[in-house]
Each structure stands twice: as C-alpha cells, then as structure tokens.
C-alpha cells in the first residue's frame, strides 16, 4: 500500500475565511477568541453580528492563516464549542464573495482635496461626511481594493481609517448548512 505524501510535512501557510454560525449568547465571542489566543492561532480579521433574531443566531466571519493542518485544527476546535452550530471553510468549499466596509477620513484643501474626490469617484467610494477641509468616504469592496484606495489617500491627507473586517458568503444557491 502506498502512502500518500503526508501533508504534515507541508509547512506552507494559506489564508482561510471561516464562517461560524453560533448561538447568540453571552460569552460566545470570548470562547472563539479565547480559543485562538489559547492555542496560538492567528486572527487576521473577525466580524460578528446577529443574523437571525428569531432563532437567536449570530454569524462570525474569521480570516485566519496557517498550515493546512492548523486550519483543519481550527475548524475542528471551533466545531466542538458547545454553542457552535456550523463551521464552514469558505476558502475551500467553492467560490465565495468576501467584502469589507471602510470609513476613510481625508483632510486637505486645494488640489489635494480635488484629487482625493476624483479618486474616490473612480473607486466608487461615497462621501458620507464633508467639511470645507475634509471628507469621510464610505467604501465597500474586496480587501485589496480597500487597501489600494487607502494607499492612494495617504499622500492626499489621510487622517484615519476604520474597517469592519471581512464578511463572506459562498456563491450559488446553497446556504451555510449546504
């Protein structure tokens, strides 16, 4: 019998977008975060909000990175938490959409202010607050698009950025239960 090349020796890391459906109860987020810190896993981003008031469910989207074995561990560890209903690895379970929302404050006058507005328009960022010397842009999109926009704003008077982290969902008709 031939033994397959063991992935235990695969030390390359990948990023994973994991969706977790949990009971909306006190302490559930602490359990998830505690699991990551206690076992030394990375959290690149984490978002959480109630998604079903009637059934009292919340959905957590975690972006993490690690070797294939570590990602498998993370999923198994999440799945055995008592208030967890479902764990889905969106990265491996087919194509998915990942979106982030950012608020970006830029201050400046004159040519820089005009340039910021022109780029915002090209990126389809919306102006949600304006003064004579500042804008707050609201922008939704993939992480790299937001990164690119923020980088362009830096020389134009970037003051601060607030980002939600990724929310994600599988493409196609099926829900998280598959």
């Amino acid at each position: 019998m031939l033994k397959a090349l063991s992935p235990a020796h695969d030390t390359s890391t990948r990023q994973a977008v994991i969706a977790v459906l949990v009971e909306n109860e006190a302490g559930v987020l602490a359990r998830v975060i505690g699991l990551f810190s206690g076992r030394g896993y990375n959290i690149d981003s984490l978002t959480v909000a109630p998604v079903d008031e009637e059934k009292q469910l919340s959905r957590i989207t975690i972006v993490t990175s690690g070797t294939a074995m570590v990602i498998e561990q993370i999923k198994a560890q999440l799945d055995r938490l008592v208030p967890v209903h479902k764990v889905a690895d969106l990265t491996t379970e087919g194509p998915h959409i990942a979106r982030e929302l950012a608020l970006i404050k830029v201050a400046g006058t004159g040519e820089k202010r005009v340039e910021a507005l022109r780029i915002a328009d090209a990126f389809r960022a919306r102006v949600v607050d304006a003064t004579t010397e500042s804008f707050v842009f609201e922008m939704t999109g993939a992480t790299d698009k937001l990164d690119a926009f923020v980088a362009l704003m830096r020389p134009l008077g970037l003051v601060e950025v607030s980002r939600t982290g990724i929310v994600a969902m599988a493409r196609g008709p099926k829900g998280i239960y598959g």
């Binding site: 235990a8 074995m69 198994a76 055995r80 008592v82 209903h85």
Partner: protein
Amino acid sequence: MTPTETLSGAEIVLRALKDQGVDVIFGYPGGAVLPIYDALFQQNAIRHILVRHEQAAVHAAEGYARSTGKVGVVLVTSGPGATNAVTGLVDALMDSIPVVCLTGQVPTHLIGNDAFQEADTTGITRPATKHNYLVKDVNALGRILHEAFYVARSGRPGPVVVDLPKDVLIGRGVYQGMPSTPHRSYRPVVDPDPLAIAQAVRMLKNAKRPIVYAGGGVINAGPEASRLLTEFVHLTGFPCTNTLMGLGAFPASDPQFLGMLGMHGTYEANLAMHGCDVMLNIGARFDDRVTGRLRDFSPHSLKIHADIDPSSINKNVRVDCAIVGDAARVLAALIAAWKADPTKPDTGALAAWWKQIDLWRARDCLRYRQDAAPNAVIKPQHAIKRLYEIVRETGRDVFITTEVGQHQMWAAQFWKFERPNRWLTSGGLGTMGYGLPAAVGAQIAHPEALVIDIAGEASILMNIQEMSTLAQYRLPVKVFILNNEYMGMVRQWQELLHGGRYSESYSAALPDFVKLAESFHAVGLRAKSLGDLDDVIHEMLAVDRAVIADICVDKHENCFPMIPSGAAHNEMILGPEDKAPYGAAQPGVTEEGMVLV
C-alpha cells in the same frame, strides 16, 4: 408539581441533581452557596461529602466519576472557592472526566463591582472547562443544569461549571425538568462512518506488523468498550499496548498485552510502535509523552485513528484513516467488518512480528535489582510489586489512585490492571496532590472495595488535609508512600539532564508520617528496610481504617525505561547502564529536546 408551582433556585438545583440520578456531591460551603447548603440540610436524597479544600472536591468528584462511569458533582462557593477548584477542572479537562461543578456567585446586581468573594468565574474557567454557564434567571436554572450534565457526559466528556448568583438561588421560579428534545447545537457524532471502518479493516487485514494502541477513550466509553477491545485483539491476534489513561482497557495478564507505551513505557511496546506497519489508535490522542520526537514517531506505519473528538485527529500526528465515533461503537463495527471481510490476514508475517516482539520482551525492561537481605534498602519497584502480589492474594476489588511522579510511573508499570475504571491517575495535567482526594471519591463510590493511593512523600503533602475527610467519613483508604526524600522525577531529570545539580528537589523538613497519620485519627506504619515491607503491607490491609504506610525506599532509584523528551522511541534509556557518565551528553537528548517538558 403543577407547571405554575414555584421553587427556590436552591430547591431547583437539588431537584435537578436528583433527576440526574446524583446521590453524592463533594463540596465546601461559603457565603454565596448558603441557600444550597440550607436546602441540602432539609433533605436526605443527596449526600454531601465535606472536603477540606475545593481542589480536593474536584479531584474527589473525578475519582468518583472515573471509578463509576457517572458524572461527578462538585459544589463550591464564589471567589476563592471557585478559583481553588480551577486546578481540578483543568485536570478533568485534560483527562476527559465528566464533572459538573456548581459555583456560588455574588448576586447579579453586584457582578462586576469587585464585591466580597467575587471572581469572574465564567471568565477564569472558560479555558478550564468543556463549557460553562452563568445563570441569570431562576426560570432557566433547571434547563441549564440538565444541559450541563448532558454536555459533561456526551462526546468527549469533560468538566462543566454552572455559576450561580446568590439572588438566583434565593429567588423563586418554575423548574424545567429533563429536556425531551436534542440539544440545539451540541450533538457529537458517536456512530462511525462505515466507509472509514471498511478502509481501516482493509489496512488491518493487509498488515504485516500491526499494533493496537488504546487509550482513555476506551475507558470513557464504558466497560463494554473494554470487552470489545479484548474481543477485537483476540480476533485479530494483534499485539496491544495501552496509554497511561488506558490501563485496564485490556487485561494486563493477557499474552497479547505489551504493557504501557510512552516515555516510561515498556521496551517492547515502544519498539513495536516504532517498527509497526499499521497502527490502530483507539481513544488516544498521540500525546507528547507517547510519541516522543514527532518526526521520528512510528515513521513507517499507516495510521488509523478512532476518536470521539474530531479535533484530536490530525492534531499532532497526521493519520491515514480517521474514524470519528464512540470507542465501543467503533470496536463493534471493526469486529463486524473484520469478520465480514473475506481477505485472509498474513498470518506468517504476524507470527514473524510476534517473534520479534518476544525478542524485545526478553530484554525484560522492567527488571530491577532488589538485595534480598532483610536489612536491605527497599527498591520502590519492589514495594509496588509486593503490594500488588499481596493485594492480589486477598482477591479484593481494588482501586489504585496515584499522585504524580516516579511512584506514579512505577505503579503504572508494575500494577497489572485486568479491568477498566480501577486506575485513577492524573495523566494530562500531571497534578501532584491528585491521589488522596481521588481516593476519597473512589472509596465513597465503592465502600466495600480496597482503595489505595500510591503516593510520593512530596505529592502527598499537596492535599494532605484530606486525611481529615477520611477520618470524618471513616474511609479506610490506604496511603502507600514511596518515601525517597526527593521529588523523585525532578531529581531524576536533574541527574540525567542537568548535570546532577539537585536544585530544590530535596524533600527537606518532612513530617513524621506515622505521627501525622495518628494525628488525623488514622494508623501510621513504617517500613525502613526490606524485612519490614511485607509485614507493613499485611497490616495495612488488615486494618479497617485509613492508613498511611511510610515506605522508606532507595533515594536514588530512577524510573526506567525512559525516553528523554524530544527523543524517539528507539532512543530509549533502558537502565542505569545506558546512562551517560556525568558531564557526557545523554544519547537522544538534544538542545531541541531540552526545551520540552
């Protein structure tokens, strides 16, 4: 009770415990749990065992749970009561022992105010438990308590804390009985996937050098799992080894048993693990004490891993066939599939494998040299061997608990466990002070049985106050101390790995254990040399009271075989003759390994 009838929170607690079939709880009172103690006072269905420290309450509940297969129950107060219990909770978590721990809490309106004896118990115990609850509504109390018992005993068992604010215990509410619907989110898989079973049987049928490696999961799955394991091993003719947690899952006297494996396991078990071509792991977790250096662990084998906890699979060791399920159901399925599969196993190869194993066995790795003169120093191994032999002659049902260290490993090596649930030891956490309170729990559960705590003189002092519990409940527990005046395992590591610099490992200023026993209303005995040993053991067993037997043993004996941390199975130190001379590097010991515990 009509649906509208109300009970106090404390009454609901006792009602739920009763409905769960609880007849004994281990605890210690305090301000926040006084309402429960008041309710306990007014009933007779549930017996309360008063321990002398909350850590001991949890260990006693563990001893009760492990020796009966039932959930152990603990009741402690808020603040220090809860924090003292934490070591016991982590111990139960690491060894997968079902425990429900009820903790008192300050009233809900004071939570977060740094009130007297307030601690963030759910925060502190979150990583120390399988799950925990803070009850804020008396009407939810019944439901939560039943859920706590379900979570503690289902899937991979573990400790569950239910934190009970005092106002919830005093307030009145409606009791919700045992739930009739399954849990909303927690439903562990217990039935194995038939495809995985078929794949495993194909691998096992084609094996030339197989081994069965069984752990505590088999014990936790109930005595039927141990019976099925024995049946499967006999059916296949394969060799079988047990982990520290699994001892008793397979009869030690069986010719197919290779003994315990791992750091202080037998030569034959470890070399068979190293050299096998197919490994079947049932209910064990590839712990670092078992695997040694991971990259050299059983390098040429196909590995099958059956575990009820999917997160145990592929955690440390990548396996070729994963089976998620309860050990008893997995074994039943393997037996059925093995019988149904027409493939003939390679009996020639298996016979050659057994021949190899017998050569390893012939090394007699557990041998020790005991001078036979009556005034000779007692070897600790010999003390346990004689204790085992003399106890066996009595034919009594015996439960062995241990503390942690050399004595624990010698007990694991020299006691021959024929049945499950008779061996209670702290494996994962390695908690010194475990054995005496665990013996309290085992003796409460089995009043007629012989319960022996095989201890070291250092460990026993960590929960020595429980001698008082033995006296109060007239528990005839035997504390058998292998007294070498050292924290023996620390001393051994310092000798082998730290150049013989015995930093702080000498047990200075020890009490006189005979007088100590007497002051706790127990019997104290001492064996100073070989000539005293058998008499002390006979007397210890004859006395129908708690006994401390202080066995003065060789101060410098080391526990062998030993696989140093970070070494591979085939780099085992078999005895003093394999030990490097002072100053020289110990073979198998690397810089990398020195970092490991």
